[in-house]
Amino acid sequence: MRRWLRYPLLTLALLGLWLLLNESVSPGAFLLGGMLALGGAGAFAALTPPRPRVRRLAAVLRLLRDVLVEVVRSNNAVARIILQPGRAQGRRSGFVLIPLDMKNPYGLAALTCILTATPGTVWVDYDAARSTFLLHVLDLIDEEAWVRIVKDKWERRLMEIFE
Amino acid sequence: MSATLLSWSVLVAQFFLVAAMGCAVFRVLRGPRAQDRVLALDTLYVNAAILVLVFGIRTGVTHYFEVALLITLFGFVATAALSKFLMRGEVIE
């Protein structure tokens, strides 16, 4: 039983997913959803992933809010770049190489998702040996500025949460 | 009043989305490279899912939600498999 309850957050999330999909909170839906959630979490535990240690829930919520703000802001910026004909000549896009201090796989995954989900930046490649990653930026003005943005705005806060 | 407003905005939204799908289809056909086609196909899937959601609002039937969910699911699997294929020339190693 312990194996199935090792990931309580995952179990709860799966149960919530099932209830949302059924649009019902009847005992039957709870029972079936609970069984599926326990089975799913047990299957996940059988994969023996590294244990995540999430600390500071308040920091996670603040981070989510800032990601949302950043997504809205960069949606606007990328829409402008696409629609304005004159800026196509002056704009420069390119790759930036960013050195990272973070080693935690969950933190790296979160950073990847944040950077790729915001329009205008795509995570392209990661070199684990040198812990640097390659970022493609649509509107590249200053490479040093991007290194600072990624490190100060996201990496430091993710390290606080995951390490 | 609200029905008129909503029917017009739904119509405009459907027009936008069909135009967006047209752009994506053009990029699928034009290429120039395989990765451009896969990217455009992924965009096409997402636009189709949004269009189905708008259809749901137009008809007032909640079952369109399941269709949209399935389109996004299959779109993800298709794009992941195609990207893998582009990388190695085979899907399962």
Partner: protein
């Protein structure tokens, strides 16, 4: 649209705005697919539709059915969660596949392996 006749005006305005913003962003993203020049530029364009585009339409759908049926219709959250998880994965897989193909063809547009690039560009790091 007779089913929407008893929708209050504020809800109709809200749903209309969200629909127009969402579909407009999806359209702009797809136009970007046509207008931007290189593949690595174009890979940024669909993100508009997959983040705020589908997000706004999902919010519109949730607001519309919740007000119309006077109960919370929340299952659209599932699509939102699913898009949040899958969008970065697909884009990253595609970008890496494109990079791999370009590198193996010896294209000058992309940087070489990160190790070499790091030594060339940042000797101090």
């Amino acid at each position: 649209m007779t089913h929407a006749a008893d929708l209050p005006l504020w809800a109709a305005v809200l749903v209309s705005l969200l629909l127009l913003v969402g579909s407009g962003l999806a359209l702009i993203g797809s136009i970007g697919l046509l207008r931007l020049r290189s593949f690595y530029d174009r890979i940024h364009a669909p993100t508009l539709g997959t983040t705020l585009g589908i997000g706004c339409v999902l919010l519109a759908s949730m607001a519309f059915f919740s007000v119309l049926q006077t109960r919370f219709v929340l299952h659209e959250i599932l699509i939102a969660v699913f898009m949040v998880i899958t969008t970065p994965v697909t884009l990253m897989l595609l970008a890496r596949a494109a990079l791999y193909r370009d590198r193996s063809e010896g294209s000058t547009e992309v940087p070489t392996l990160p190790v070499d690039a790091a030594q060339n560009e940042r000797p101090g790091v």
